[in-house]
Symmetry: C2
Subunit: 208 residues, 2 copies
Amino acid sequence: MGKVVVDISMSLDGFIAGPNASPALPLGKGGERLHHWIVELESWRAMHGLEGGRAGRDAEIVEEAFRDVGAVVMGRRMFDEGVEPWGDNPPFHVPVFIVTHHAREKLVKEGGTSYTFVTEGVERAVAQAATAAAGHDVSVAGGASVIQQALNAGLLDEIQVHLIPVLLGAGRRLFDEDGGGPIELEIARVEASPGVIHTRFRMPGRRS
Amino acid sequence: MGKVVVDISMSLDGFIAGPNASPALPLGKGGERLHHWIVELESWRAMHGLEGGRAGRDAEIVEEAFRDVGAVVMGRRMFDEGVEPWGDNPPFHVPVFIVTHHAREKLVKEGGTSYTFVTEGVERAVAQAATAAAGHDVSVAGGASVIQQALNAGLLDEIQVHLIPVLLGAGRRLFDEDGGGPIELEIARVEASPGVIHTRFRMPGRRS
């Protein structure tokens, strides 16, 4: 069976989006700074149907993270804000499961992406995604709320945090105060580039 | 002139102490977890007048950080909670400047440590410490409030964060929401051990 993973860019002060996020500004004020490093990479651009970009170790790490993903789980707000820009041939190329309160019929897009709406919570969405992934990894893509729910439900095997050398000062935190007590992680890998520190952690107690 | 530096252990979710910190529990509930890696090191133990401990790269990094420090700045609460356990021969071995609202006479301890109380704010405390450091570094030791004040006043040259693979879930954050807008950093060094990721950032715009 594949792993359940998170792969996300976070500022040194813990934010994955800037303040005042809205459908018109999904990453919040200044939040696009967290993705500067990735949007210039060849591997990221290829997944988004774009040409060119930079090769090298950063691009390899991004490619590696996406290569093993067989299905994606995301929250309803992330879906609502993303569905238009992602267009008819979305960058996932695998089944996507959206945690929502509103039942809705499955949408099938080009290039392997489909959108399935799950009303029974994040645990059920991850289970459905795991079935669809057929041995590959399930990526919990965001937003922060769905990642926190998956973390607190003990569903995650690995967290890859791309640590960005900026202090945003405000915004949406990856890790909120959850009051749930400490969770021990294991450092699986650390690699630094000039503009980003790639860190990967295993969640012991889960298979890894 | 020396640099103004911060050197601190932080959980992956951004905490430098657990919740419910008090004079009897200065690191808060579970906060001592953040210091497990350091208290076992030879270099840290030697500074605290203790024998034994582990040598190696972690110990070198700790020794290196302390070797260049010519003076320390800290907040009043950190001082109040520390002064008794630190005892007659405190682990600093350099002049310490405490940011406080209450004027008080300087205390001179054994082994090179003195405590000077500064009532004119963090900027003045750092300036006095820089004079006392005589070309060596000034270490802003904590707590979080004094570090944040120094950061927001543009007083810091470098931040060394020892990232600990644990999610505390609650406590005292190193970086609060300050609403001050983004601050760009530069990655100066990254080294990973099994139990800690040593990251160091420069603050551009400051001399470095």
